[in-house]
């Protein structure tokens, strides 16, 4: 008997894998539980999302309580979240409109579909600022790059995927400084920063722009520590940070609510989104019947 044990173990595992593997196919079952995907505590996207939908409760004496359901799967990065949503047909999540790709489905909120256009004209209300921070004293190259970002040309680049933050921006006149500028921080801001860099280098080939992807706090801390010149943040600064840093808003971003491609839902009210992410609605049926 004992010599069969490994064999039995193997058979058991094989059985387990195959029997479950064929259960996932077929129609969208509305009775299924909603798989809520969220981002980690402290993420700029999460902070913005929970504040916009009032999932965070602000108390009278400065208290703050994030009511996101404890059952939410926490994805550390935007792409991890996207692949999670793409592979789980009963999932729902949120991410920056600029980083959405074709593997997942966007849904309208209160009847407004998220596009650069609707974020720009304010009808799509789920949005947040993209901020750059620097020390109070900066190098000529850094200053020139920032001037570019806030200029008409720079804002046009930002407006390709986001909404521009500066109205009536001035035309850009480079002082053509040479030098290296290190930009670090939020992975949400990075895509637009890459585009800004490309456009700027064409105007001023003397400068070297290096972009490091991490997250908002690392970027801000990097500026304070002097390891980078410009920090990218998708969250507002804390008071302790504001005291020592300068900040500029370079763009606005919409936050998209996304579901799996096989999900029949096209629209949710902001009340429904709130209830789902607070864990008050747990089955798809409840949303489909209401919708």
């Amino acid at each position: 008997m004992k010599k069969h044990i490994p064999l039995i173990c193997l058979c058991f595992i094989a059985l387990l894998l195959t029997s479950c593997g064929f259960g996932g196919k077929g129609e969208f079952k509305a009775d299924k539980e909603i798989a809520v995907f969220s981002r980690e505590d402290g993420s700029g996207t999460r902070t913005a999302f929970t504040e916009i939908f009032n999932i965070v409760e602000m108390g009278e004496n400065g208290t703050r309580k994030d009511r996101t359901t404890k059952e939410a799967v926490i994805a550390k990065q935007t792409d991890v979240l996207m692949s999670g949503i793409a592979s789980d047909r009963y999932s729902i999540g949120y991410l920056s409109l600029g980083s959405v790709n074709k593997t997942i489905k966007l849904i309208s909120i209160d009847g407004v579909y998220p596009t650069a256009e609707t974020v720009k004209n304010g009808t799509y209300a789920v949005s947040r600022p993209f901020i750059i921070v620097t020390k109070k004293e900066i190098s000529p190259a850094t200053q020139d790059f920032i001037n570019f970002m806030l200029s008409k040309e720079g804002q046009a680049v930002a407006a390709e995927s986001y909404i521009s933050a500066v109205d009536n921006a001035p035309e850009f006149n480079s002082s053509m400084p040479s030098g290296k500028v290190v930009v670090a921080g939020s992975s949400s801001v990075t895509p637009v920063m890459e585009k800004l860099k490309e456009a700027y280098i064409e105007i001023n080939p003397n400068a070297i722009i290096e972009i490091q992807l991490s997250d908002s706090s690392s970027g801000i801390q990097g500026v304070i520590d002097g390891t980078c010149d410009i920090g990218m943040s998708s969250r507002h600064l804390k008071d302790s940070e504001k005291a020592v840093l300068d900040q500029h808003t370079i763009a606005l971003d919409g936050i998209a609510i996304v579901v799996n491609k096989n999900n029949p839902i096209n629209n949710l009210s902001s009340e429904q989104v709130k209830a789902v992410f607070k864990g008050e609605i747990t089955r798809w049926r409840e949303l489909i019947e209401q919708g």
Binding site: L17, G24, E40, D41, G42, T63, D66, I74, S87
Partner: protein
Amino acid sequence: MNKAKEKIMSIVFLIAALTSIFAVALICLFLIVNGIPAMAKIGLFDFLLGKEWAPSDVPAEYGILPMILGSLYVTAGAVLIGVPIGILSAVFLAFVCPKKLYKKVKPAVDLLAGVPSVVYGFFGMAVLVPITGYSMLTASLLLGIMILPTVIGLAESALRAVPTQYYEGSLALGAGHYKSVFSVVLPAAKSGLLAAVVLGIGRAIGETMAVIMVAGNQARIPHSLFKGVRTLTANIVIEMGYASELHRDALIATGVVLFVFILIINLSFSALKRRSDK
């Protein structure tokens, strides 16, 4: 001249040996300096036994009990899956496997040890998660596979270290091949096998990347095999990027707890090893 050379070389060796000790000391110092004040500030019991982890709330809550339990459950699951398969594999390699096959199986096991954990994570995400979801079960399965090379390697050498007279004596008394292996050799290699299990536990509890990718990472008391779980390692890696001030120190304090766990595991490993060497 030669004497001077030897003297110099012995100093070089001493420095080389001290480097790793220095590194360990530095890490301990870093953990203590950053982690202990945070624990004191949060309150040791609130920190270790608190059920709520909500660092962005005001007032913030820093209870890591969910993560401690998460780490323990996932590791226990990995041991339940990995240890039986690992020890039976070791028995196979040491007593059953024909030489020709051994030359193929052994490198395959070693290769398993060399696979980067992020690759395990991708495997888990692409193959296991669609079946078992982001859950404790998935994390345990994946970790069970990941600890196999550790368990197999150590268990095999423990089995081979048992004097052949034991096995032969058992045969001479009329016991069969498997009876001898399972009733005589395995018990004789007990502490070596335990050491293999302990090191497997150490590998499982310290694993980070692969677990983050499949476990779901919910910071609440784990309550079901089919629901997500967050481990101590995951807690640190996931939030370190956004953490500042007390939150950051609380994560380092989480590292202190993990460090204590690893310390206990390593101490019991060396205790077991000493016993098996006797």
